[in-house]
């Protein structure tokens, strides 16, 4: 089957599911909001309007203002942008790392496998949250990109294990054996013959990991360890507004609502992608564990 033909088939199966369509639409909407929003709003996320403190939403401030008079819409849009970027980058990095480690461990076997799997086991025992809260203050000055690296480093292990399992069975398949006998170098075999066969799993897993990463970031920001002021993310916005959630609901419910909408949409698309790419698997497998709560 050609690439385009398969792509079309996958797309057709996706479109047939109303949940997936909804998810895609919501994602598109959120991305537009995050990247076009700043140009539409007259305010920036650091602007302070001293004439409007704790204002409910009106024509001037579309989502109201916060305690010191900052425009909630501008902040939410900026936070959404940051959270989307963090989620996407973390998913990308951790999936690449997981694919590399898993495929190498499975393909080379022996001591490579033993050492790499020990590292995976060790990192699974180490509570991610503990590592995060201990290391995050040190990374504060390096900005949010260091946070991305840290979250990616703590979220690849389960996927790596799954990739290793797939590689173990792919290694015995005829096309890999033949390639090896022809003298193709191991790294090339992994790149050309092993990883493409794990691609559908990796794509799905990365999609779901985006949601997990965003949830982890918000959790970290809740403790004041994530994105640092004056920059904002959805996590910092929610954390700042939690104690006044009932009194000034607009400060709390807009960022929280967008966060939940985003994660929900990502998970819907991820689930539909899994079914569309591989209609035979509806099976249970441990996926990534975001910091707060669990993901399916």
């Amino acid at each position: 089957m050609t690439g385009a033909g398969r792509g079309r088939a996958v797309l057709r199966r996706m479109v047939r599911r109303p949940g997936a369509l909804c998810g895609l639409a919501v994602l598109l909407l959120l991305f537009t909001l995050a990247f076009v929003g700043p140009f539409v709003s007259p305010w920036t996320h650091t602007d302070v309007d001293y004439s409007a403190l704790r204002q409910p939403p009106d024509a001037r401030h579309w989502m109201g203002t916060n305690r010191i008079g900052q425009d909630v819409f501008a902040q939410v849009v900026r936070g959404l942008q940051k959270s989307l970027l963090i989620g996407l980058l973390v998913a990308l990095f951790s999936t690449v790392l997981a694919a590399a480690v898993g495929a190498c461990a499975g393909y080379f076997g022996g001591w490579t496998d033993r050492v790499l799997m020990f590292v995976v086991d060790l990192m699974l025992v180490l509570p991610g949250l503990l590592v995060l809260v201990v290391v995050a203050p040190k990374l504060r000055d390096r900005g949010w990109i260091a946070l991305v690296g840290l979250l990616a480093l703590l979220g690849w292990m389960v996927t790596a294990r799954a990739v290793r399992g797939m590689t173990l069975s792919l290694k015995e398949r005829q096309f890999v054996v033949v390639a090896r006998l022809m003298g193709v170098s191991p790294l090339r075999i992994i790149w050309r013959h092993v990883l493409p066969h794990t691609a559908s799993f990796l794509i799905t897993d990365a999609t779901i990991a985006v949601g997990g990463a965003v949830i982890s970031e918000t959790g970290l920001s809740y403790f004041g360890l994530g994105v640092q002021p004056p920059d904002v993310s959805l996590g910092t916005l929610i954390a700042d507004a939690t104690d006044v959630a009932l009194v000034y609901p607009w400060m709390f419910f807009f960022p929280t609502g967008l966060l939940i909408a985003f994660v929900l949409a990502v998970n819907l698309v991820g689930g539909a992608l899994r079914d569309a790419l591989d209609p035979t698997t509806d099976s249970a497998r441990p996926s990534r564990i975001p910091l707060s709560g669990m993901s399916s």
Binding site: D121, P127, L129, V135, Y222, L259, P286, S296
Partner: protein, 327 residues
């Protein structure tokens, strides 16, 4: 079976020790206990800070191996050192461990039991309204960060209390301080305080276990041996319970140790928000103070919990699946 457990036990011990060493190295290099002392008003003389830090084994000017050297010697004798305020880590550990274990235990038991039952129930009614409702519920729960869930519960409790005009649902602390009365009164008080945090910890667990159990049950439902069991005269429900449950529990048992890790993380947020003096809020406190010894002690607890869960999962897996038992 015994050799399997022994092998896993050795593996777990190595992992446990490595994780403690790694945490010690990480905490000693990343945390800044000096800042905690220097931030006091009035600032103590640097000589005093130095001597205090080296007494605690947290002197950031000494090389890392030297700092670590004094720790294991005392740790094997059961002494985890002193907290940054000079108290015994053991005493603090003892005070807090029960609180966390209570929360984790309730979360695990409720999460697995209700989650597995709900998952099976949904799988049997695949596509029906009950199944859909459960799917929507678990998707929604898994998209909400634990701290938002906790805050929503707290807000809900507040609203209920205001509507009722009295404190119907308790939402701060782990017991009422200074409460007098017999054990029955104390027990009821503790249970009342446990309600909301337990819900908060258990709901995400229920959501994810039910997803796994539902998928695993669906895989089993079409199996030949179940059809045979029904042909033999068993009702579909009995056939599933007698012949399907055992198989469908295998993937769930594999998930159990990861689930424990997530549960621990959820408990940290829950303790922090509901004001429970457990390991989670201790972690947040210790990191703020730069308290290396306490952070290592908390890792000791967390690693032990996760490894025990993993061991339990392995044993359950071996009990369910005879193929695993063969060496």
């Amino acid at each position: 079976m015994l050799s399997l457990i022994l092998r896993r036990l050795v593996h777990c011990t190595i992992l446990f020790l490595s994780s403690v060493v790694l945490t010690y190295a990480l905490a000693s290099t990343a945390l800044d206990p000096r800042a905690y002392f220097e931030g006091r008003q009035p600032p103590p003389p640097s000589r005093v800070v130095d001597s205090e830090l080296s007494r605690l084994g947290m002197d950031d000017r000494a090389p890392l191996p030297e700092r670590f050297a004094h720790w294991p010697g005392r740790a094997v004798h059961g002494d985890l050192g002193r907290t940054i305020d000079g108290e015994s880590v053991n005493a603090e550990f003892g005070r807090r461990v029960g609180v966390s274990v209570r929360l984790l235990l309730v979360g695990t038991v409720a999460g697995t039991a209700i989650g597995v039952l709900a998952g099976m129930w949904a799988a049997v009614r695949r596509g029906g309204p009950g199944d859909r409702a459960l799917t929507v519920f678990s998707f929604a729960v898994l998209c909400v960060p634990t701290f938002v869930l906790a805050l929503l519960l707290k807000t809900g409790a507040l609203a209920v209390n205001q509507a009722a005009g009295s404190t119907v649902i308790l939402y701060t602390g782990e017991h009422t301080p200074g409460l007098r009365g017999g054990w029955a009164v104390q027990l009821r008080d503790t249970a009342a305080h446990l309600l909301l945090p337990a819900i908060c910890v258990a709901i995400p667990a229920i959501a994810s276990y039910s997803r796994y159990q539902r998928a695993a049950t669906l895989d089993v439902l079409g199996a030949d041996h179940l059809r045979t069991a029904q042909a033999k005269g068993l009702t579909p429900g009995r056939a599933l319970l007698r012949h399907g449950l055992r198989i469908s529990l295998v993937p769930v048992s594999v998930f159990f140790s990861f689930g424990m890790l997530a549960l621990f993380t959820g408990a940290v947020f829950t303790e922090e928000i509901f004001g429970w003096p457990g390991m989670g809020s201790w972690l947040v406190d210790s990191v703020r103070k730069g308290d290396v010894n306490s952070v290592v002690a908390i890792d000791l607890f967390a690693a032990a919990v996760v490894l025990l869960a993993g061991l339990l999962a392995d044993v359950v897996h071996a009990l369910l699946d005879p193929r695993v038992r063969q060496p």
